[in-house]
Symmetry: C2
C-alpha cells in the first residue's frame, strides 16, 4: 500500500509525502514523484499523522466521580479519599461488567485516533484484585486492534486493610511485583510517588523490585507537591515521570540530562485547576516530553481525549502545535520505550491516522474537536464501525 | 409526555423531578410522585438539562484558518488580516457550498446538545454579501429543528474597498442596518467594538441605527484592549457584550448594575492564549453571565463545543459546574432576550437534553466529552441520525 499524505511530521518537513507500507511497517517514505509502484491510497489534502500514543491511562474502574469533581470545584480539596471510593466500587464490580467498561473506554480512545494506549491497574490494591484487573486489560487487548501496554500500579494508594504506607509498599515490592512479573501481565510498574501517597523510601523499594523483576518503571511525580520524585525517577532509570505540575528548575535540569521522559497531563491539571507543568522549560532544556490523557475515575474522565490533550498542550502548556503533536506520538512512544511507534520513519509500525483537517493547527483551533477519517494500525485499516464509536 | 430526570437545574434544586410537556412547552414540573398522568419517558439516572444555548457563533465562512492558528502559537500576533482572509474565501464561495458548510456546522452543534444557536454574518462586509449570508442562515434554519437567532455583523472588520473605519461604519449604519431590518433577516446587530476595529463613535452610530430599526444590539467588547466598549454597550442598552477578557473592576461594576449580559468565550481566549475574562467577579457582583462558543474561522473552530465550553467555564474561568451550566442555558437565553428558553420552568419551551452522565460534574471531569443520549426541541424528539452526527 502506498499512502500519500500531508503534514509536517515526515522526515525533513517533507509535505506532501508518500509512504510505502509492507508487512505492517513503513518500508519507504519520500516525495510522491519518487514513490515505488504499489496500490495507492490517496488521502487528498488530509492531515496524516502517526497514530496517537496515550502513555498514561487508568481504564479499569467502576463508577465515575463526576459529583466529586463538581464538589471539588465548589471548594473541596483533592484527597486520596477519592481513589479509595473508586477502589470500593471497582472491587464490588464483577469481571464481565468491568471488562465491558474497559472495552468501551478503549474503543473511545481508538475512535479518537489513539492507536497505542498504556493501561494501568491500581484501583484493586490487593494482589488478587490487581491481577484480576491486569487480566481484564489483557483480555480486552486481545479483542481490539489497539496496541495496549499494561502497567501495574499497586502503589496507587494505601488500602484501608493495610497498617500503613511502609508496610503496604513492602507488600507491593516483595509479593505483588514478582507475582505480576511472573504472570507476564505488565510491562511497567508505576508508583504514586507524592505527598500523602508513597514517599521516597517506599518508591525506591518498589522501583528496585520492578527492575529486579525485569519490568520498566514509571512514576506519578511532583503533582501535588514538589517532593523530588521526578529526580528520584531519573536516578532509578524510570522510562517516564508523569504530571510534574510542581517541578522546579533543578528538576527540569535533572530531566533534561536524562533519558527519562517527562509525561505532561494537562487534562487533570485543568480539571483540578492546578498550575501547569513547565512544558516550555522542559522542551527548551532538551528533555524528552510526552503528552498523555491520564484518563481516570476522578480527576480526568475522558478516554477519547487525546486530540483535546494536543490542543491543551498547544495553548495552556505553551507548546507549538507541532511540538504538542510530536509529544502525543513520538514522545508517548519514547515514554513507553517503543521507538518503533509514533513516527513516520522507515522501519516504524504503520500506525497512521488521516484527520478531518488540512493542517495540524486544527488541533489547537478546534481545541480537540478533530476526528479521524481513516485509521491504520500495523498497516491494517480500522473498520468504519470502530471509527464511528462516540467517545466518552 | 411526562419525562423524569435528575440534575440540579429544576426549581428549588429538586432532583429527581418529573416534567409534563404539552404543546411544546413545560406544563408542569415537580416531584415524580405528584406527577399528572401522561405517557412516560423514563430516563433512568441520566442528567437532564435544558438544551444548550450558544449565543455567539460565526458559522458562515469558507476555509478554516488552522495553519494561521499554528503560526500564531509559534509567535505571530492576531490581527485583522485573518478576518479579511476569510472574507476573500467566503465571497468566492458559491451559495450551495456555503449553505452546505453552515448546515454541517449547525448539525454538529445540534448533535452536541445545542438547541438554540445565535448565528452571525460578518464575513461578507458588503450589503449584497451580508444579505446573502443572512439568507443562507435563514434557509439552513428552515431545514433544521434547531432554534436559530440571526445577527447582522457587518461591522466585523473594514473591507479593503472602503476608505476607512468611519466611512464604512456610516455605510453600515445608514445603508446596511436598515436594509437588513427591512428584509427581516436579523434579530440583532453586532459590532466588533475593539482596538483596531470599530471605535466608540462608530459603535454608537451603528448601535443607534440598530435601535432605530427595531433590532437588538450586541457587541464584541474589551477583548483585545480595554476600550470601554462593555460600558458603552450598557449605555446603549445592548442585550449582551461579549468577550471581556480585558474588563476591569469598573467595567464589572457597570455590568453588574445593568440588564446587559456578559457573554464569556473561553474557547478563543484559550486558543489565543489570552487572559481569561473576570467571570468570578462578574458572578459575585451579580451580573448576568452567559457562556458561548464563538465558533468561527480563525480563533476557535469547533461548532460542537458547548459541552467543552461548560468544562472550560468550570475550570479556567473559576465558575462552579452548576454556574457554568446555567450560563450555557439560561444565561445564553438571557443574552438573546429569550427568557422562554434555557430553563426548566412552567411555560418555558420543552428544549431538553438527556446526557451520557449521571451528574453535571461530568462536564468538568471529562472536559466536554459528554454526549446527548436524547434531545427534544419544543417537545419533539430529535431523530437518532441527527444525534449521531460527528462534531467538528
Amino acid at each position: 500500500m502506498l499512502l500519500t499524505g500531508t503534514g509536517r511530521l515526515a522526515p525533513a518537513g517533507l509535505s506532501p509525502w508518500a509512504l510505502l507500507v509492507e508487512e505492517g511497517r513503513i518500508a519507504w517514505i519520500g516525495p510522491p514523484a519518487e514513490a515505488p509502484r504499489a496500490e495507492r491510497v490517496d488521502l487528498g489534502g488530509a492531515l496524516v499523522t502517526p497514530g496517537l500514543v496515550d502513555s498514561h491511562t487508568h481504564p479499569v474502574f467502576a463508577g465515575e466521580r463526576s459529583n466529586e469533581a463538581a464538589s471539588r470545584l465548589e471548594g473541596q480539596p483533592y484527597t486520596d479519599g477519592g481513589i479509595l471510593r473508586t477502589v470500593r466500587a471497582t472491587r464490588a464490580a464483577d469481571d464481565a461488567s468491568l471488562e465491558l467498561l474497559v472495552e468501551s473506554r478503549l474503543r473511545s480512545a481508538l475512535a479518537a485516533g489513539t492507536t497505542t494506549v498504556e493501561c494501568k491497574s491500581g484501583y484493586g490494591l490487593s494482589l488478587d484484585q490487581e491481577l484480576r484487573h491486569l487480566r481484564i486489560i489483557a483480555r480486552v487487548a486481545e479483542r481490539l486492534p489497539l496496541r495496549v501496554i499494561p502497567t501495574f500500579l499497586g502503589a496507587h494508594a494505601v488500602p484501608p486493610e493495610h497498617a500503613g504506607m511502609a508496610e503496604y509498599a513492602a507488600h507491593v515490592a516483595e509479593d505483588m511485583v514478582p507475582a505480576v512479573a511472573s504472570a507476564g501481565l505488565a510491562s511497567f510498574v508505576d508508583v504514586f510517588a507524592d505527598s500523602g501517597f508513597f514517599d521516597a523510601t517506599a518508591t525506591e523499594r518498589i522501583g528496585r523490585a520492578a527492575t529486579a523483576a525485569g519490568l520498566g518503571l514509571r512514576l506519578h511525580a511532583d503533582q501535588l507537591e514538589l517532593t523530588g520524585a521526578a529526580r528520584l525517577g531519573v536516578d532509578l532509570g524510570a522510562a517516564s515521570v508523569d504530571h510534574l505540575e510542581q517541578l522546579d528548575a533543578g528538576g527540569v535540569a535533572a530531566m533534561a540530562g536524562s533519558s527519562t521522559v517527562a509525561t505532561l497531563l494537562p487534562g487533570p491539571a485543568t480539571v483540578l485547576r492546578d498550575r501547569m507543568p513547565p512544558a516550555r522549560a522542559l522542551l527548551d532544556g532538551g528533555a524528552g516530553v510526552a503528552l498523555a490523557s491520564d484518563a481516570n475515575a476522578g480527576t480526568f474522565g475522558a478516554f477519547g481525549a487525546m486530540p483535546l490533550v494536543i490542543g491543551l498542550g498547544a495553548t495552556l502548556l505553551g507548546m507549538t502545535v507541532a511540538e504538542a503533536l510530536v509529544a502525543a506520538t513520538r514522545g508517548g512512544a519514547a515514554a513507553l520505550r517503543r521507538p518503533d511507534l509514533g513516527v513516520l520513519e522507515v522501519g516504524a509500525a504503520a500506525d497512521l491516522v488521516a484527520w478531518d483537517a488540512d493542517h495540524e493547527g486544527a488541533f489547537a483551533l478546534r481545541l480537540g474537536h478533530v476526528r479521524p477519517l481513516r485509521t491504520w494500525i500495523g498497516g491494517v485499516e480500522l473498520a468504519a464501525a470502530a471509527r464511528r464509536t462516540i467517545s466518552t
